[in-house]
């Protein structure tokens, strides 16, 4: 009798904690709520320009290896200090492919988000605000490219391999700390970073690197991104 009761309680507990599959996009919208959290994304999801992603405070999304979130439409991730939104891998020994903003029609708004264990998170040809967002233990914490209207407010980057990379375009940062990473800020050729550089410190290999200076120091002209584009397009 006791055994049956224990089994029943175990099953109920496991059911109560089971992750809900990341919802299919219906009528152009996905709304993630704390009530249904945690969610599990098994493969990848693409939001088109017409789609909207809205995430409430306290939502957790677990990612399977290689899962990727590609956001081309309207994005509002509205965590709070008390109830941040969390994106991280289900198996912490394996990375996922990251969250990618390509919403060039509507500025994104991301507040109180924690992004962990991704290979690369990126913003491409987009604008928007990251406020109180923590990038933790990613390979590339955030990579911003071809974007001129990206703001970082009170964000933090810790334990990433490459914390923040700025490709062609610019970033405005306020009270954003980059510390305890392997490499801090990397400004690629054509990139600009406007913010308090005193808050970029305590990174293992380097706090700030500039590709233009590195290339000039080696007498080279071709940037890393050009090599990669040749490789991928040929």
């Amino acid at each position: 009798m006791r055994k049956s009761l224990f089994l029943l309680i175990s099953v109920l507990l496991s059911l109560g904690w089971a992750e809900v599959p990341f919802p299919v996009i219906e009528s152009g919208k996905v709304h993630l709520t704390e009530k249904n959290s945690p969610y599990l994304l098994e493969t990848s999801v693409v939001f088109s320009r017409e789609d909207t992603l809205l995430i409430d405070p306290g939502v957790q999304v677990f990612m399977m290896p290689y899962a990727k979130v590609l956001l081309r439409g309207s994005v509002s991730i509205l965590g709070t200090l008390q109830k941040p939104v969390v994106f991280k891998s289900l198996d912490t020994t394996k990375s996922w492919s990251g969250i990618h903003f390509v919403s060039n029609t509507t500025p994104f708004l991301v507040q109180n988000l924690v992004v962990e264990n991704a290979f690369r998170n990126s913003v491409t040809q987009s604008g928007g605000v990251f406020e109180s967002v923590s990038f933790i233990n990613n390979y590339y914490g955030l990579w911003v490219n071809s974007s001129n209207q990206v703001s970082l407010k009170k964000c933090s980057f810790t334990r990433n391999r490459f914390a923040l990379s700025v490709g062609a375009g610019s970033i405005k940062a306020e009270s954003t700390q980059i510390f305890g990473n392997v490499f801090g800020l990397y400004i690629e050729k054509g990139g600009e970073y406007s913010g308090n550089l005193q808050l970029i410190k305590g990174n293992l290999e380097a706090d700030i690197r500039k590709e233009t200076e590195e290339l000039a120091g080696k007498g080279k002209t071709v940037s890393r991104s050009v090599w990669h584009r040749i490789e991928s397009s040929f």
Binding site: S122, S146, R161, S232
Partner: protein
């Protein structure tokens, strides 16, 4: 008279032995494993001393399984390529990036329709979402480059033919790959008939995205040899070397990079 008839019969037979109909088996082929190797060497094409030249070397080795999914009445078929294993290296990436490239390539299974002459169409990747930067490698592109297209009629040894592939690029631009072939030899090996075919390709490389513009001044050209198993209707092995000069402009800095020379070696070998 008898001698003349005998000679004529012999010549006819010899001629038949030197003529074949090259067609892919699109109806009942079993799963096949292939090894694909793609090595790329890119360097600034200028007159700098060899030891100071900027360059990139990459190497990709894949084992894939090709499966016939559906055979159609018009003799075409839908195939699927599944990636079994990937090994990748590059002197322009870190070891962690190698592993990441291997991860995403291993999930790049794709399907395509193929006519019995080898013309591929409707390539579709299964559950794969490409990165918006456009800097991810694509396995399907390599297969398309090395894929032969046959003339659709019997050919004699020494005969040549030309075919072309229209390919939709990353930004929906149309690129045409012109391919020409010559049947160089027909011979028996281990009880199967093999055709040795010379393959030449040429195409214009074009990339125009918000960051970069890249185009080949002249045609990118390639040449190689294909061994086709005529008995089974499958590729036995194939090797091609593609060579081109690229003009590259970084748009944000309006910087024209000195011409780049790209050499790509592709090898495909059946593992059955």
């Amino acid at each position: 008279m008898k001698k003349t008839l005998l000679l004529a019969s012999f010549l006819l037979l010899a001629c038949d032995q030197q003529t074949t109909n090259l067609v892919f088996n699109t109806q009942n082929i079993a799963d096949q494993k292939f090894l694909m190797q793609a090595d790329m060497n890119v360097f600034l094409d200028d007159s700098m001393p060899q030891d100071t030249i900027e360059s990139m070397e990459t190497s990709l080795r894949l084992i894939v399984t090709s499966s016939l999914l559906m055979a159609y009445d018009d003799s075409s078929a839908r195939f699927e390529i599944k990636v079994d294993s990937v090994e990748y290296t590059s002197d322009k990436r870190s070891v962690e990036e190698f592993r990441y490239v291997e991860q995403y390539l291993s999930s790049q299974n794709f399907q395509f329709k193929m006519a019995k002459d080898g013309l591929m169409s409707e390539p579709v990747m299964d559950n794969y979402v490409a990165h918006p930067e456009g800097d991810e490698l694509e396995i399907a592109k390599l297969f398309l480059k090395i894929q032969p297209v046959f003339p659709g009629k019997p050919v004699r040894v020494g005969e040549s033919w030309e075919r072309q592939h229209a390919v939709t690029g990353e930004n929906n631009e149309q690129m045409v790959i012109y391919k020409s072939f010559t049947l160089e030899d027909l011979f028996q090996r281990n009880g199967v008939m093999l055709a040795k075919i010379r393959m030449n390709v040429r195409y214009k490389q074009m990339v125009n995205d918000p960051d970069i513009q890249m185009n080949s001044e002249d045609f990118v050209i390639g040449s190689g040899i294909l061994l086709f198993n005529v008995t089974m209707g499958v590729i036995e092995e194939s090797a091609i070397e593609v060579n081109g000069k690229l003009n590259v402009t970084e748009k944000f800095s309006e910087q024209n990079i000195p011409k780049m020379r790209v050499i790509q070696k592709l090898k495909l070998r059946s593992l059955v």
